[in-house]
Symmetry: C2
Subunit: 407 residues, 2 copies
């Protein structure tokens, strides 16, 4: 699990700190703390509700608690920014500290945990957020308990159900919103209904995006004789579709819009449309940054082994650029690691060097910048006064923090 | 996959037809048709929304369509009965034909499909509703497409995501309820919020119940030397907990209560409490009937291979009774099939004979009757006039149909 040849200190975006919060002084910490407190409450409530099912219920809830204790609360913060977008001064401060913000953030974090658990099953991941992945944890429980049958199978099935539990908990947390008073324009019930719909269509989209992803991983890379340029172009398009549906919209656009709908931003308005474009573009840049970190990131900072994306055969935009820009020798070196669980650290380091040396990493950085710029342009295109100045400034800061991170 | 030794013609409850609808003349067919139409609409809407992701989106939606074309729409009908519980005459008829009934029913069917897909992965089931299980279908797609990697793994992962998609589609369909006008007492928004919460806590409960189930399957049966009576008692308690949380409340109580909340029945009232008891007890009887069919049912009628429950090692109430009532030889015959994928038809037939001959099947029938009676008693305890006579009569008919079915 050592870092690949290219250390993250050569990153084109040196940052004093990989964390997201510092770009938004105070707000990130406060929202994060409120969401943390709410998540603890949620888990306590379920422990109470399911106390007749101990120890089975505790096995699931402990695994959930472990997962939920990690994470950067990025989506929670984005929904908080959305919910306060039309507010200023005291109203903004009060709303940031309100139950609706904590609860929406908790729902997004619960859903994120659900998606991670299922994703880790699919990727056969060993660790998540520096701890054993949920299916590994349940596998160990099975083995340590001396239960019948295959421990790995039990771990996988248990984690499948844990993911289902977490998705349902997220949904219940969104249902709980009905108890909270909203601040901002428009009738409460209508805004809640819109936000709820947006939440549900987000989770549907992510699952379809994940399917696109596993599907793209099993389709063949170009055969010898195929035109590598046509293949690279095709890979680029597919990779962008996966990025958009599995990640970009989910990581940035949907949380922001769910918050904005609760905060009274109306669908169809110029502001709503600009937020959607901003969210999709910044979200795309965010995921492309992630893909760069997946090859070149420092595992001590990212918390995930470098090169795993290559070993899994993940068809990223970065890979499609390398496929186009390198030569047959380079493609040979890439093939040696793609979807090759047995690829060595040396193989991975060579592959990373190919991606860097052929100029793909640089071209990828330009794509990150282009998406970030397109996102910011959507904000800049809004008429002055559409939202308080503090909101546009905060969105802009968030965009930079999300795309220039190191972890 | 032939029937076990005891043919279903010896069933203590001979029925002219395994279907559920005939006990409720007209209503079942009409609700079923409205839900079918709504499901077709839902899938069409997603095809449109995800048309940019063809063919991947079609692969998922075709699998969903196949699953949704089957099923008895039992839960949809129960929620329709709930929604019309306080209504009579024209209002009842109009509500039965309303979008809110069709949509709630569609949401329940979508969720049922989701739970089945995940359940079939866990059980490594080959078929569902007489067709290949979703993970098998996607496995075949992988193989026929000549994709990379292991077809079985792809099938399993694809189905995991299909289940997630279906759960999200169910949630979106519940969100869509906000567009429908409700009939009955109380403010619309409050009733919708209550129903929505009930839906979300139902899905959470089922996933926990499924975990209880897989967990009970891997715990050891009594070791030689253990007291079989204590073991049987323990098994009985665990089996009932699984029945309650995975199935009984989900199959009957929750759909009925979700409908009732939409129809204006208030939580905490005598009627609400009676419906909860009725639903849980009838639901328990319903699942116990299912467990009987899992051993003694006719595969041509049930659509699932007989004996699979034994082969999987499912710890049912029926099995716990047999464990108590049979002798060491009988327990030996049962051990020969429990969680033994290689058990032969002859082994399964012997095991079924043990269960019948020791009196466990008869004792099990008595438990079915006891739960049914307890459910009906909850209704009979209500003050006259709490609901229109047509409603109590229909609930009673439903209880009988659900527990005396053959499929």
């Amino acid at each position: 699990m050592s870092a690949p040849a290219t250390s993250s200190t050569t990153s084109p975006h040196p940052q004093p700190d990989g964390a997201y919060a510092p770009a938004l002084p105070g707000t990130g910490e406060r929202v994060g703390a409120a969401v943390d407190a709410r998540l603890i409450q949620v888990l306590q409530d379920y422990r109470r509700r399911w106390r007749g099912l101990v120890p089975a219920s505790d096995e699931l809830l402990d695994a959930a608690a472990q997962l939920l204790s990690g994470g950067k609360r990025t989506r929670a913060l984005l929904s908080a920014l959305g919910a306060t977008l039309l507010l200023d001064g005291d109203q903004r401060e009060l709303t940031l500290a309100s139950p609706v913000v904590a609860r929406t953030g908790a729902a997004l974090e619960l859903y994120q945990a659900s998606a991670l658990v299922h994703d880790d099953i699919i990727d056969s991941a060993h660790t998540r957020r520096g701890m054993p992945a949920a299916h590994r944890r349940l596998e160990v429980l099975h083995r340590d308990s001396g239960w019948l049958g295959d421990s790995e199978t039990f771990g996988r099935h248990g984690a499948l159900l844990l993911g289902d539990v977490l998705l349902s908990l997220a949904a219940e947390e969104m249902s709980g919103l009905a108890a909270d008073r909203l601040v901002g324009p428009g009738p409460d019930a209508a805004r809640r209904a819109l936000a709820r719909s947006a939440f549900d269509s987000m989770t549907a989209e992510v699952a379809v995006g994940q399917y696109l992803d596993i599907r793209s991983e099993v389709t063949a890379l170009s055969a010898p004789g195929d035109d590598p340029l046509a293949c690279a172009q095709d890979m680029h398009e597919h990779a962008l579709a996966v990025v958009r549906h599995k990640s970009a919209r989910y990581s940035v656009m949907h949380p922001l819009l769910i918050g904005a709908l609760l905060g009274g931003v109306e669908p169809g308005t110029a502001l709503y449309k600009a937020l959607a474009v901003f969210g999709e573009e910044v979200g795309t840049a965010f995921q492309l940054r992630d893909d760069d970190l997946g090859v070149f990131g420092d595992p001590r900072v990212t918390g995930k082994p470098a090169g795993d994306d290559l070993r899994e055969g993940k068809r990223t935009v970065l890979l499609s650029l390398a496929w186009r820009l390198t030569d047959d020798d380079g493609r040979h070196a890439l093939r040696a690691v793609l979807a090759q669980p047995g690829a060595t650290e040396a193989d991975l380091a060579s592959a990373a060097r190919v991606i860097e040396d052929c100029g793909a990493r640089e071209a990828h950085e330009a794509e990150v910048e282009a998406h970030l710029t397109a996102g910011l342009a959507a904000l800049h295109g809004l008429e002055a006064g559409t939202m308080p100045e503090v909101s546009s400034r905060t969105l802009e800061e968030a965009a930079h923090a999300l795309t220039r991170r190191r972890a």
